[in-house]
Symmetry: D3
């Protein structure tokens, strides 16, 4: 596959998982954005062995555990979009608390609450 093909596939996958706004944000990040589109979405997110729903469980858990709060809202929204319920996302957060402690879980819980109380919500 050529770079252009992988980029195009990544663009579409990113848009499918996260929406137009996220795609625009990433595409404004020059070469870093290109790498993310190609690698994270053209390659990793496009691999079939895990469903998007399963990928979101992993992404949310990893982001919560490492305290990567800036990217958590986007991934929580994508998780809801991929079929995880609010209750299931609460469970992922509680599960991660046993591994990374209560503080990051508390931040994530608040973020999830803000997003779900807005219904759809915007980033």
């Amino acid at each position: 596959m050529s770079d252009d093909t992988r980029y195009e596939r990544g663009r579409e996958r990113l848009r499918e998982v996260h929406g137009d706004r996220s795609l625009a944000t990433i595409e404004s990040m020059g070469d870093l954005g290109r790498l993310i589109v190609e690698v994270a979405y053209g390659d990793v997110y496009s691999r079939p062995a895990l469903t998007t729903r399963e990928r979101q469980i992993a992404s949310v858990a990893a982001l919560v555990a490492t305290g990567r709060s800036s990217q958590l809202p986007v991934h929580i929204r994508s998780a809801l979009k991929a079929g995880l319920t609010t209750e299931q996302l609460q469970e992922v957060i509680i599960q991660t608390a046993t591994i990374a402690g209560f503080p990051p879980a508390m931040n994530a819980w608040s973020t999830l609450k803000t997003i779900t109380s807005e219904g759809e919500g915007v980033a």
Copy 2:
């Protein structure tokens, strides 16, 4: 539910998820072990909204992302036991690499390889 009941439920759940050896290890950790049995397994792991398989996706992703290498072998074995395939665990590791970088993913890949090449393996 009384503490004793929660402890007993936790013991059985820990044994179910991780096996006898892990249970013995945790039970040798005094009050910290008791807390883990009651909280992580009597409470968190016993909650129904996520399957064990889904919980293991979250646990493995969080452990890889935070570089908690000591606990990863046990959780990888439990993930395989809960129905995740080697290929799916490889995907969880690759997914986490996009969030936490290649080094922790490389360590986890090697750990997974060691475990699966032993077939069953021991903790």
Copy 3:
């Protein structure tokens, strides 16, 4: 001890250590909040071998070292309430700088300054 008893004990302990506002915040966090009340305060914070003052030294050091800035203000206030002086908290921050670097210590120093310059202050 039953869950209800532990929850009640945790509520009172949380209120004693952190105040009414923190208790309300935690109690708004559904099952995560319940876990924190029961485990962190009904169990851990209620154990006698360390004084609250000593627990706060540990909590502040751990929060500073891991950069858990969201929870630091509450714990700094509780540390002052438990008998640590501003100067002693500055020492905990400087001590943690040798272990975790200057950046998180700088953030914590500013947080402590904001709180103590307000006198009592609110969360």
Copy 4:
């Protein structure tokens, strides 16, 4: 105070807190070792507002929370030497688990157990 005076003070303080073996290890680390002796022990550890015992609570909590396993044995021994009991160190570990998760606490618990079961033990 001149550098030499601070270095000498740091040497003595390091030896007092951690022992001859640790001092020798640090002194074999060229300019990094010199910085540690001067800064961490000639300056920070020599400041009066916290007792050594209190400093060890902070150091152990910070090391456990950040997973700095290599330096933990030395600091646990120094904590015991400074007057913390095994039970109190167990409490510091359990306290840190609520902030940083169970995995690093489990590693620290095992380390503490190894050291205390050796009685005095050597680094």
Copy 5:
């Protein structure tokens, strides 16, 4: 060298690398600030084996990898001042993404963009 001499040297070095505003901020941080001036700038930043430009590559990479976002703007500005181009700083960020993941790199990219689009910019 006496403490006063090292402090003076540190003050000048800090001012040279980061500017007057940063110096004022650090000097408002009591004993922590004094330690930073003496150790990080009077000692470390004054050592000749690396150029300031090379030190900034290391500092920016370390700050991005550990997610120390509060201190990143100052160090990015100092990196530009020391001769690194915007493109080179983008490369440092992309390089760090392979080690610490995309999220911290994305935050850093945005910070760099904000600073360079302001031209000179203020802290």
Copy 6:
């Protein structure tokens, strides 16, 4: 550029920077290894704006700061190969200590010492 071309370029770049043994290790890591070869070396390490020597300063600093000890020996060797002297690498480690604390710097110092005292050494 097609995937095959990027992979080939990555292979050669990896070999050039880290040597045959590292290439073999990475190539034994299935799809994760492929991603590393293509992304980290076919793309990132092949970009011209930073020299390999500058990239190694960034990589070593990031690895030390995040405590990624498993990958540090390889990157230290590559740094020496790329033209950084032992003294300069010591400076990078000391610089990183101001950002991430003394413990990871101590581990890195020992690793560097082991490698340089072996002369060439093997991974």
